[in-house]
């Protein structure tokens, strides 16, 4: 089941990010696909989904203003007490959102987000599994 698989990936991500409050995957209309939240989390995951809808117009404007600089990798909001990372996945079809307190290093949040993006993309319903490579980098059928 895609949903179970996505939840597993999110839980695994959270395991790598000790202290994170909430991780969600939402589509570009802000609808929630899956989420993980810690017992300390005070922000409903659905609300973060709504946040995506608000930020979407800004992301579109950024893409237009910086055309030719490649694709958007992530947007990070730093507040006095937390980091909020928003990363487009699956060619912008969905967004991964990570909310964590400032005690979690920002570099770790970005690295974990980068490393888990392929697994999350694969767990989207209807996505093809990633091709397996041998030691030489050749696709194995």
């Amino acid at each position: 089941m895609a949903e179970t698989k996505m939840k597993d990936v999110l839980s695994e991500m959270a395991g790598q990010l000790s202290g994170a409050w909430v991780i969600i995957v939402a589509d570009n209309d802000g609808m929630l696909l899956s989420s993980w939240s810690s017992p300390e989390n005070k922000l409903p995951p659905e609300m973060l989904g709504g946040f995506i809808q608000t930020i979407n117009s800004t992301i579109d404007a950024f893409k237009q203003s910086t055309g030719g600089f490649g694709h958007l990798e992530d947007v990070i909001f730093s507040t006095g007490f937390s980091y909020l990372l928003i990363r487009p996945i699956a060619e912008g079809q969905c967004f991964m959102v990570v909310n964590a307190p400032k005690k979690v290093p920002l570099g770790m949040i970005r690295m974990v987000a980068t490393n888990y993006t392929p697994s999350l993309e694969q767990s989207l319903p209807g996505r093809e599994p990633m091709p397996k490579h041998n030691a030489m980098g050749i696709v194995v059928h």
Partner: protein, 140 residues
Amino acid sequence: MPENMNEIVSEMARQVNGIWMVTLIDSDSMVLASWQSADNRVSPEALGGFMQIFNSAMAIFKQSPVGFSRFEDVIFSATNLHQVIKPMAEGSCFVVVSAPRTVPLGMIRAMLTNYVPRLEQALPGRQPLPRKDGMGTIIP
């Protein structure tokens, strides 16, 4: 006499090698001061348009129940570019730094953190920073 904002902005740009653009704009996206390198590839017009949309999104955030009412900074990372936006003077202005991905993001953030107090003081009508002695006590 407050410092010249353009001078501060160009001093900022000299602190970190490779920066393309440093711009100080108000909440209506009007440019207060700016510096651009010869290599800059982000047009100020496109930045102005982006900042207008960014500002309207910020206004919505401030009223939203998510509660991110006060941002320290916002970082947009594209494959070849970092764009860091830092609100200052209680959100009445923003400093925007554009740089290629080769410039360390931490350097940009540290530079912004260190220069924002000076930029705030250089805004017309702002009070000068209080002078402090070696123990951090304010000298009247």
